[in-house]
Amino acid sequence: MAAAAPVSLAEQRRAELGRLLRKKYKYLDRTWDAVFWITAIFIVGAAADITKLLFAGDWDFWTDWKDPEWWPMVTAFAVVIIPSALQYIQWTAWRFPTGATYTSVCLFACTWIGRYFQWHVAEYYPLNFIWPISTVGAGIFMDWILLKTGSYIITSLVGAPIFGITVWAFNYIPLAPFLQPVQFMNHIVTVADVQGIAYIRSQTPEYLRHIERGTLRSFLGEAQYVSLAFGSTLAIAGYWVGQFIGRYLSVWPIGKYIKNY
């Protein structure tokens, strides 16, 4: 009969954590999980939507604002903040790489409900002019990078830029039909431009539309590549804004409260 291998203190500790992980609780059962995930949908969705509207409102709103220069740059920063905050909370608390995807799924639900009822039903704008962007694909990639690296620093340096580029790439696909050229009012314009002219926005004059107006002499004359590179860099900054929110405005106050009382 072989003698049992000696178990180190560290191994005992890990085994204890494993038992703790599977411990049955009398009061804190899975209902609490459902309560959390479901009640947080609209809070997280609203937080993400407000942040998006605050930083990239019109660019996300109208097809004629989704241009090659400003849209990829501004949107990447605006939509990475809350996913990053949720990534911190959910990874730190539960080791779930779900913060970015969860935020994106909630954002998807909230924005589509808002656009449909507030802007399509109540204000008569056609949905094909006011559709919101989707960040779900980008969220999955960023969560996957956090899962693989387990590091917020690497996720910010690699994941946030990939998030920014994917947000653009994922939404450029449905935007393509709106960039087809049309002969309209003696001009060659895009379908999106026609929408911007036809669907009257009395209090949003054309001169307020910040889109690409000039051309570059370098980078093949494409501002888009420069914007994507810069937008990706901004997404790193946005990621750390989100980390700040997650660490010091969400988790830290809760920890402080529990310790004191």
């Binding site: 599977r22 999980d33 539960w94 080791r95 998807f108 008569y124 387990g150 036809a198």
Partner: protein, 421 residues
């Protein structure tokens, strides 16, 4: 019991009185603007909105002129860029065509003081209802200045609204629906993958029967964030495998979607932008005006302007109209008044003194005009830092030519707005 009945009666009476006072809203916020924003900046004239009763899909045309006055207030940024647009309650109409001084205008225009901009906008009725329609002149740094408005009734049509556009390759599309289903199904497919990801990570099932959320905190609180606890099952190999699989599906979807997009829409251009300086119409100078002061009586809504008019032209002319902001006052018969613009924004004007001035002569005249709209649209400064009004005086000579002369005058109300604090 009696007290309770009284309470309910009072609530009911309040509700009835509050709702009975409510009138149909037709203003677009212009009454909130200060008077100087309306009467010192621009003047709208010859505005016509017709027809006023259409069916969905039929056109309404807005024509008219707006002049940027030389009296543009020093408190505002100089007028440089403007956008001519209908002011309506959202896209209940769809704009089909727009010209400024005869040039198609897809975007904003460059403007200057004394500039005259003759506009024409054609809109299609899109949503049934009774809508108040104005021309608008949005000036960068100032905001949207609103012209005279008119009610337009849009009745339902047997055929649904369509807005056809023709692509460069000759294909015709309906703007109402182009790309819409693609946007929805593509976004929804992405959403479903996200739901699968969340389902995997949060819901217990054959893939992880022991999956729990809130309890994990008891374990993770004792670990550094880089520690995934793979050896005791906090995050498992299966978690990694399935997550990589879902991420790969997402990537495949993105690549396939991109290839499809490139094959379906090979020709894509950038959103277009165009600004131009509209050519100015020829202007005939016929006279000069010197204001001698004006008085406003808020009780009778009567504005009286005293002025000297000098004829510097070759023919005698007659004072025909005074336009201030969106309001026009006409010296003429009922028919002339009705022809001058939307009925709510046109009123008769009395000219006391000699309304006809011979070449080289100067006449002292008094213009007297009354309209409740002067108060309703807040055109007259009654308690403002600039007790000044301005507008355009229109004269017509014997050959039928018309000329406008800018008039700027100090204003004295017969009574200032009462102040209690």
């Amino acid at each position: 019991m009696r007290t309770r009945l009284w309470k309910w009666f009072l609530i009911f009476a309040f509700a009835v009185s509050a709702t009975s006072y409510a009138r149909s809203a037709f203003a677009h916020g212009e009454a909130a603007d200060e008077p100087f924003l309306k009467n010192l900046t621009v003047a709208f004239y010859d505005v016509h909105i017709s027809p006023t009763n259409i069916k969905v899909g039929e056109p309404v045309t807005i024509t008219g002129s707006v002049k940027v006055l030389p009296t543009w207030p020093f408190t505002l940024d100089p007028p440089v860029t403007a956008y001519v647009n209908p002011v309506v309650p959202g896209p209940v109409f769809a704009l089909r065509d727009r010209t400024v001084n005869g040039v198609p205008a897809i975007g904003s225009i460059a403007i200057d003081r004394n500039g005259i901009y003759n506009f024409k906008m054609v809109m299609l009725g899109r949503v049934p209802g009774r809508w108040h329609v104005h021309p608008g002149f949005a000036v960068d740094g100032t905001g949207t200045l609103i012209g005279p408005g008119q009610w337009v009734d849009v009745e339902p049509s047997a055929t649904p609204f369509k807005y056809e556009i023709t692509l460069l390759d000759g294909k015709t599309l309906d703007l109402e629906h182009v790309g819409g289903s693609g946007v929805w199904w593509w976004s929804f497919a992405g959403f479903l993958i996200g739901v699968v990801w969340m389902f995997y990570w949060t819901v217990p099932g054959p893939w992880r029967p022991d999956r729990r959320t809130v309890h994990n905190l008891a374990v993770t609180a004792q670990l550094p964030t880089w520690d995934q606890g793979r050896d005791f099952g906090l995050v498992t190999e299966g978690d990694h495998k399935w997550s990589t699989f879902i991420a790969a599906v997402t990537l495949a979807m993105l690549v396939i979607g991109w290839l499809y997009m490139v094959s379906q829409y090979p020709l894509r251009i950038k959103q277009q932008t165009d600004r131009f300086t509209p050519p100015q119409p020829e202007v005939t100078e016929m006279g000069q005006v010197k204001a001698l002061g004006s008085v406003y009586n808020p009780d009778t809504h009567t504005l009286t302007i005293n002025l000297e008019v000098k004829n510097t032209g070759a023919n005698p002319f007659t004072i025909k109209q005074f336009t201030m902001g969106m309001m026009s006052f006409v010296n003429g018969d009922k028919e002339a008044v009705e022809k001058s613009g939307p009925p709510d924004f046109v009123a008769p004007m009395q000219v006391q003194g000699n309304a006809t001035v011979a070449p080289g002569q100067t006449e002292k005249v008094t213009l007297k005009m009354s309209s409740e709209m002067l108060d309703e649209e807040r055109l007259i400064p009654l308690n403002d830092p600039q007790e000044i009004i301005a507008g355009l005086l229109f004269v017509q000579d014997t050959s039928g030519k018309t000329s406008s002369i800018t008039l700027r005058s100090t204003l004295q109300p017969t009574e200032f707005a009462k102040k209690y604090f």
